[in-house]
Each structure stands twice: as C-alpha cells, then as structure tokens.
Symmetry: C2
Subunit: 578 residues, 2 copies
C-alpha cells in the first residue's frame, strides 16, 4: 500500500463526540468514520484490522469443529413470537415491516433462527454434536450508543451455537469453546481474564466472560493473583466477614438532624461504618422489598434479582419510599417495616446496629436482630471489593476494569424447549437438544485492543491485529536517492511476505512520523540523508520505542526477524481440540 | 471435512417452491435453506462456495487498486432525501425507524453513503483516482422474490465506486473494472458475455452488463459471432431493413370482422406481416403517445422511454385506448389520430401499409405515410431479433438468455452534484467528482454458476467455486480395509493442499454416490473391494464422466494434477492493471 493512494484521513484533533480513547484514536488514525449514531463505516485500514480478527476467529472456530454458516439479518417475527422474545426485547430491537406488512426484526442475536434451522435439518443423535457459527452484523437499538465500537447499534459478532445430546455433551462443547476463545484472545495479543459471570436474561446457567483488562471497561472484575479465581463483580461470591460487631445493648432513638448518608451518620455518632445497617427499598416486579447490607458494603442488584427471581428490579422512587416508611430515604431502617426484608449474611453478625428510625431526622442505635426486626432471608447480596479474601483460597482479591469481548453460555434446553427442537436418541426416543451459545464481539475487540495498547502518540497495535507490519518512510520525497531506496526496500518487504506500507506522500517528515505513530504500525523504517550516508536504515519499534540502525543489505532480514518474533509472542501454546 | 459431521442435508425431491434449477439444486444439495420469502441461510457447503467467490472478487478488486471498506447496512434517511432518491425508491426499499423515530433504510445500494464519505474525507486532486469497494448484504423488498438466489430480498453484492477528476479519469477507472470483472468471471469458470446495456434509473451514460449465458436468465442478449458486438436486447441497436415494402396505392376501408392480431390480419388479407403497421398506445408520464412498428417487429419499451425521456412508461389500458381511438385495441391505427406519433425508422419504407381503421371490425389497406398520416419522430424503437445483421459488421446476430451477474456504470456527476461532493483541482478550483459504480451480484453468481453447470444428477461446479475439490468414498464403512485406505488417502490429500471431503457415513454406496453427484464435487474417488484387490482407486471426473483406475500409490499425484489442470482452465491470461 502506498499512503499517497490510501484513504487514510488522519486528524490532529480529537473528534468532539468521542469520549473514550479507542473511539478517539479509531477516528483520528483514519480507521473509521461515523455514519449515524452508533453506526460506523470502516475505512481501508480499519477494514484490514477487522479482517485480521475475523481470520483468527474463523481459524479457531474451525480448529474446534465449528462449521461456518450465514444466517439472515432480517428475521421473521414469527420465530421470535414462538420463543416468547418478541415482546421481551422491547425497544432494543430494530423492527420493520415488509411491503406486505409482515413483521421482521434486524437480528440482535440468532438463537431463534439457528434453533429453527437445526430442528428442521438435524434429527438423529448420530449427527451430534454439531457446532455452527457465523461472523455477521448484529443490531441493537441502544438507548445511548456510545464509546464508538464499544457499544454501537450496528456491530459485528461471531456467534456459535452448539447442539448436544445431553449436559455431558454440552460441557464438552463448552470446554472446546473455552479453549478456542482463549486461543483467539491470546493470538490477538491481548491481556485478558476469563471470569465467572451472571447469565442474566439470555437464560442458562454456567457462563464465562472474556474480559480485556482496560481502564475504559464498563465491567468490574475481581480476580485472585494466587489461584485461578476470577469473576465479574456482579457474580463474584462474597466471603462473609464473620467478626461480630458490637455487643447487644438497648435500642435508643437519637436525634440526627440532616444526617443522612452512611458517612455522615457514622461521623455524627462516632461509630464505625460497619456498625450501621444500610437499608434500600427495591421494586421487584410489582412487589416492594427492603434489602439490608452492612454500612461499609454495597448492594449487588444482580444478586438481589437472582434471589428474588424477578424480571425487573429497580430502586424504589423516593416518593414510594416515603409512602412505605413514613420518612425520606436518608432515615429508613428495618425496625417496624411491614414488607419483605432480605439481608446480606453479614448483617447477622452486627449485635448492636445503627439504623434509620423511619422518622425524619432520627436514627436508632443499639438495634438488635430478631429482638427489634426480623429478616425473611439471609444470603449473599453484596458487591465484593478489592482486598477481600478469595472464595477459593486465602489470598486477597484484586479488582480491575474489563471490556467484555466474549461470552460463553450453557443454555441447556431453554430454546430447544420453547421452539420444540428435538432429535431422536439411540433408543428411538425424542429428546430436546442441549444447547450452548458463544459470542465474540469482533468489532468491540478492535476497540478493546486499542484501549489496552496506546500512548499519547496513538495506537500501539499487537502485530497480529495491525493494519500492516511495517511502514517505510523516506524523510524527503524530493531526494531521489531516498525515494529509490525506500521503494526498493518496500518491494523487498512485499516479496518477503511482510505487510509493508510505503509513505510516499510529499509531506514533511514530521507529518509522516506523527501519522506512523498515530496509526500504530508495529515497525517503522526510516530512510533519510544520514542513513544513506551510513549505508543503513533506521528501524524503530512502536511498542518499546527501541531504535536501531541496520545495514541496508540486512534490513529485510532484520525486519522479517522482528515480525516473526512479535507474532511468536502472540502465539499460544495451542489449546488443542481434545 | 467428514460428511458424518457435516451439516449437509441433501434431499431427493425438489422443494415445491423452487421454480428454477439453481434454486432446486441449492436446496437439494444442502447448500442453503429458506428463512423467509427471498431470505436464505447459507449452510456450510454453500458458505464455502460463497467464500470462494468473495475471495476471487476481492483479489481482482485489489489487483486494480480497489480499497476495501465496509459501509453501514442501516443508512439514515437524510442522505437519501438529499440525493432525492428517498421518494423515488418506493416500496422496494426496506424502511424502519429507530427508538427516537428517526428514519433509516436498509441499503439497497450505497451511492449516497459513499459519496457523503468521500465529500467529507477527500478534497484534493492529488488523492484521485480513488476506488473504494465492499462486499456486503443488500436489501430490496421485491414484490415477488423468486428463483432462490437469483432474485432475493437479502442478497450479497460487491459494490465498488470510483472517484475521478474528469471523464478521462472515469474512463480509465471504468476500463480497469471492465478488466477486473472479466478476470473475475473467467476465474469463476463461467461462460459469459459483456454486453452494452441501458443505464436505466440509476443514471449515467455508458454501462455494460456481464451476462452468464443460461436458459434461466431473465435477460435476452444478442451478440455477433464474428466481431465483439454484444448487447442486452433492451439496448441493442437495430439496423433498419431499408427494402421498400409495397407500392403506393389507394387507401381502402376493408371489413375485417373479429380479425385482430397481426397474424389474423395478414392471413385474412393475404399480405406479409411486414406490410402491416402495428400501432400501440402508451401512457408516458401523463401524456398519451402512439408508437408504430412494422408488423413483424416488436416495440422496445426502453427505447421508447429513453426517446421520450419520461419517468414512467406503460401500455395504455384498453379503456383508455377505446376512448382515444374510438375502437378496441385490435383495430387501432395511425390514420386520423390526434396524439403524438412515434414510429420506428422501418415504418418509412412501407409504401402501402395495412393498419387498423380506428373503427371496430375494420382495417385500412393502401395506407401511405404523409398522405394518410403523419409521424412526429422516426427513430429506432424496436427489438432486435436473432438472425438480424450486426450493427458493427455484416455478420448475423445470435441471441441467448443471460443472467446479469455484474454491471459497470459511468455515473458522471449525477451523485456528486446532488450531494455537492467536490474536490480542489490543481488550479485551486472546486470541481465535482466524476464517479463510476460497479456491482457484482455475489450470491447471484452462485445461482448463475449452477444454471450453467448441471445435469440430471446435480451440480457440476467449476473447480474454482466448488465447496471442495474431491470427495473420497469408501464403498462400505463396514470394511475396515476400505475405511483405512480412504482415511489414508483423505489425509494425504489434505497434506497435499487438496480440499478433500471424506464421506465416512455408514450409508449405502448408492446414497453416497448420489450425494457426490448432487453436491457436484469436481472429482470423486472411490475405494471399494475391487479397487483394493487391484491395489488401485477409482477416479471419476464430474464434468466429463471420465473414470480411471489409478494405482493407489499414485493417487494423490494424479488428483493433484487433475486439480491443477482444472484450475488452470479457469485462469485467464491476466488482464493486468495498465
């Protein structure tokens, strides 16, 4: 590729709408442009990155027995009505009608259509397991599309669906995909963690997320440095602190005017935050519930929702709280409440608690469980924090932000039952397929790779994702000798199978260097007046900044070596197909 | 690939909705399934064919300087309103609204969005020419989707757009694409013709279509066997027959009760059909026009429409004809008509014509141009027929049916003007980009390849498109030796870089042979009791039926040779990038 002919519109300024680094750099480096909110055009260099990720994903899916198919983007409503998700999806689903007024959606996911395909085409246990995948555009009408490729409305996913005879088969397919995904992200050169996750609305039980660690991540993960425990904080199991807090004493009403927050109450009364009981009101479907946690803890909504098995859970509105408790939010507590009360298991260890008094400007001290209030259920309802003990070993947990680039699910029979998809087993009995589904956010992986690999000058691509391995820059295109030598090196690189870009623009060297850093080619080769005098070229690595003069006759050999070593550093010891 | 694990649901019966061979065979061979009307799922083998065509297209676009991008499928209405096509497209465009009630369409084509991209990102003549392409799903809400992949509602196209400084530049880009397209279809192993075509609604002037010759084609093409002339019959220039018909005589009203058609009138009056003038009434936008052609010719609506420069042209309703002419359709003629009259140039050579008398059950004989009726315009308005003279040489034209798999257009400034897309030329003046657009129906090419290559047993793939080169069939999977040898050959083929499929199903040999023919692998290798006795394998070619016993130690060498020769026969002498 010659930069003079390449559509690579780099920018010096950050686009105003770009809130995160990856979005800024994708636009500034000329890899993509916005077409509409949450909808992007991939420019030639962005396209090359995309194709590289797709190729890696495809190879790993094939390696583990995946068969590639292509399912339609526009899907008939009937199938979604059959599974019951036509209504559930709500506004996130793009819907349309054809000229005959038949309803369709733009597929946000493909469980329905693949299950319908398999129920029609696969009928014997002999054909199982079967793993089908595609790499395709998906659509979600996000309320607030943002962060560029991290959360778009039109985005690219790889989705694979496994169909097995039973749970044992599903677990084997799941294990294959776990390995395949690990290979994919290792080959992409990314730092990531596989974490236990909550299965949420999609259903099923066991699920893991593949998280690329980066500050801009929307998810919080905790992991153990000693053992292999890692989980999305939404899912992470809390080890209760069983140390008893306080000693039983008398309950007292104390005047706490304008003292509302945990910090304020603890400060005002001179007690530790963990002596307080924090009381939150939730609306769980149509029922009101109170949730209690220790004052120094945060409620984990997902755990509350899973415990209650409700479809919708939201914090109660202040006016609803006021109606139920007779006071404003800052003064609520469990004493005298007549609704269902859930408590985190640690609440049981507070012998003398401080709580709101359900009366404005008053709190109770010396509150005692069972004597002063009752709890309907005790369970783990809180967020885990960094520094807490690992549930698997003694070590303490670390926490980090992560970008979810992949997720694998054991769906079980959820969709095969709702869509009546059955096979005949070896005894001639009809059984439901046992399914798994496995997604990789292909376009999001581009963003995640950048969020993890950049500096103030631009992107620092892992070589396996880079739009090209090397950029060759003649310092001045007005100097014939520089041009000649850069051209010669460019051709030699191409012949050696190196992906080379020649920056043959008649621009100042500074502009070309800045663009090279911005686009993030792993290797930059400079041909200038001084290198020509020295019979050398200058080779600089983007990730380390290391710079070296290399004899020009050895340049291609050196570049080949560097490329090979960089690629090798991204190759996993293959997790093969067992 | 092992057939036992492959999702390849072959059928013995034709699916009821499949009207054409390619649709029947794509479904029967297990390459695709219908998801909704005009919307299909590609199964693993179909996907492999698709990927092969895509790879060929991509290579040829890149060879001629194309840069791959990916434009969005959902496109904002604003751009289409700006170009004026939001209304024009009518019901063929799938439209939808997002949650904020903003209007979008599913792109039926991408001129608007690419022109908008280039007007924002390209501003100097130095960056031109620029050729951008994508391979992507497109959407057209066809009134009657049919013929499987030939006319679907969701289909795959490659579209490339060229941006040049001027007409000369455009012609160079056009020439490049002409060569690239020729390479693509040669490499696909298809028999095709490049024909002059009408530019129709998309605008622009020069355009060529790439037509795969096949009976099921929706288009009619004429071509010269001697010179290189070829055209869509809609566009084909007619050489007028200048032989004078009849001699001037008196006009006479003759009673022709119930004699309406050309055949009936000629028979009844005992004259040659070419002595008749055929009169047709058209509604051109809001105006009524009469069109005259010789009795043995057919009117070409496209030529009429182009001559009139009208947006809509349709044959007048019988009641409208009756109101205008005072008689039913079978008896209309030009004498005494008071509307605009267009005539094909050959009408001028009929000295004594038979025409309708604009009175039921009557015709005129001895009708003379200018004496009895006037013509507003003479021009070429008729269809060319097989056997007529070539407009370029003396030879006679042949005619054939064709499937349009590609079309290239010189758009000129149509879209750059309507979307105000300009660059700055070397004098600092702002000029409109001069554009071309170039499409390949990627999914339609799959259908076209089948329509041209099949027999009663199934598909006969050109090797460059085949889902695999060779299928290896052990006659009985119960015979260990056969299995062992088939497995060994399968592995050797894979190691030699041959795309091999092993039919390891525990099925009768007949079933496996039938499936092999149906799927259409170019080479079939059989391992059976007899071949094992003879220390050989049986190699059979799908396209010729030629069968040969080959020593098993030479089998891989032989297969490699055959594959190489077959691929070679699809390789063009490259039309390089000049």
């Amino acid at each position: 590729m010659r930069v003079s002919k390449l559509l690579m519109p780099t920018l010096r300024e950050n686009p105003s709408e770009a809130e995160v680094i990856s979005h800024q750099l994708l636009v500034r480096a000329g890899l993509m442009r916005k077409a509409a909110s949450g909808i992007y055009t991939y420019l030639p260099l962005g396209m090359r990155v995309l194709e590289k990720i797709k190729a890696i994903v495809k190879e790993e899916m094939d390696r583990f027995g995946g068969q590639e198919v292509m399912l339609p983007i526009i899907q008939p409503a009937e199938l979604w009505q059959e599974s019951g998700r036509w209504e559930v999806y709500g506004q996130e689903m793009f819907r349309l009608k054809d000229r005959h007024e038949r309803e369709f959606c733009l597929g946000p996911t493909h469980e329905e259509i693949i299950t319908s395909l398999v129920r029609n085409e696969v009928n014997s246990y002999k054909q199982l397991p079967i793993l089908l995948y595609q790499i395709q555009n998906k659509y979600r009408d996000e309320k607030r599309p943002r962060f560029g490729l991290m959360r778009g409305r039109e985005f690219i996913m790889k989705d694979l669906y496994s169909f097995d005879q039973d749970q044992t088969g599903l677990e084997e397919s799941y294990e294959k995909m776990y390995k395949a995904y690990t290979n994919v992200f290792l080959r992409c050169g990314l730092q990531f963690r596989v974490v236990e996750a909550d299965s949420g609305a999609i259903g099923g039980s066991t699920t893991h997320e593949f998280m690329v660690l980066a500050e801009a991540g929307e998810a919080q993960v905790v992991y153990c440095q000693k053992c292999d425990y890692a989980a999305n904080v939404e899912k992470a199991e809390a080890v209760p602190d069983k140390i008893v807090v306080g000693t039983e004493s008398e309950i007292q009403l104390v005047h706490t005017p304008n003292v509302r927050t945990i910090e304020e109450v603890a400060g005002h009364l001179g007690v530790a935050k963990k002596q307080l009981i924090k009381t939150l009101f939730y609306k769980a479907d149509d029922q009101m519930v109170a949730v209690l946690v220790r004052g120094d803890r945060e409620v984990n909504d997902i755990k509350v929702q899973n415990h209650l098995r409700c479809v919708q859970l939201e914090l109660a509105q202040p006016e609803d709280v006021e109606r139920m408790a007779g006071c404003s939010v800052g003064f609520v507590g469990p004493v005298g409440l007549e609704i269902k009360i859930l408590a985190d298991q640690e609440v049981a260890f507070i012998k003398s608690a401080v709580t709101g008094a359900n009366k404005n400007d008053y709190h109770y001290t010396g509150v005692s469980l069972n004597r002063d209030f009752k709890v309907d259920d005790f369970t783990d309802l809180r967020m885990v924090q960094s520094g807490e003990p690992c549930p698997q070993c003694d070590s303490s947990l670390e926490s980090a932000r992560g970008i979810e680039v992949g997720q694998i699910f054991q769906l079980g029979e959820k969709y095969s039952q709702s869509l009546n998809a059955k096979y005949t087993d070896e005894n001639g009995d009809e059984k439901f397929f046992v399914m798994g589904c496995y997604g990789i956010g292909v376009s999001r992986t581009i963003a995640a790779a950048i969020e993890q690999n950049y500096d103030q000058n631009g992107i620092i691509w892992p070589i396996t994702l880079a739009p090209a391995h090397v950029v060759i820059i003649p310092v001045s295109t007005k100097e014939d000798e520089q041009v000649k030598e850069a051209e010669a090196l460019y051709r030699q690189c191409l012949e050696a199978g190196i992906e080379a870009v020649l920056d043959d623009r008649n621009e100042r060297a500074g502009v070309k260097f800045k663009d090279a850093d911005l686009v993030g080619y792993p290797i930059r080769v400079t041909v200038g007046k001084k290198t020509i005098q020295d019979n050398s070229v200058d080779i600089k690595l983007r990730h380390s900044g290391a710079e070296e003069a290399v004899n020009k006759n050895l340049a291609v050999t050196k570049i080949t070596e560097v490329v090979r070593d960089l690629i090798k550093s991204c190759q996993p010891k293959y997790l093969g197909n067992s």
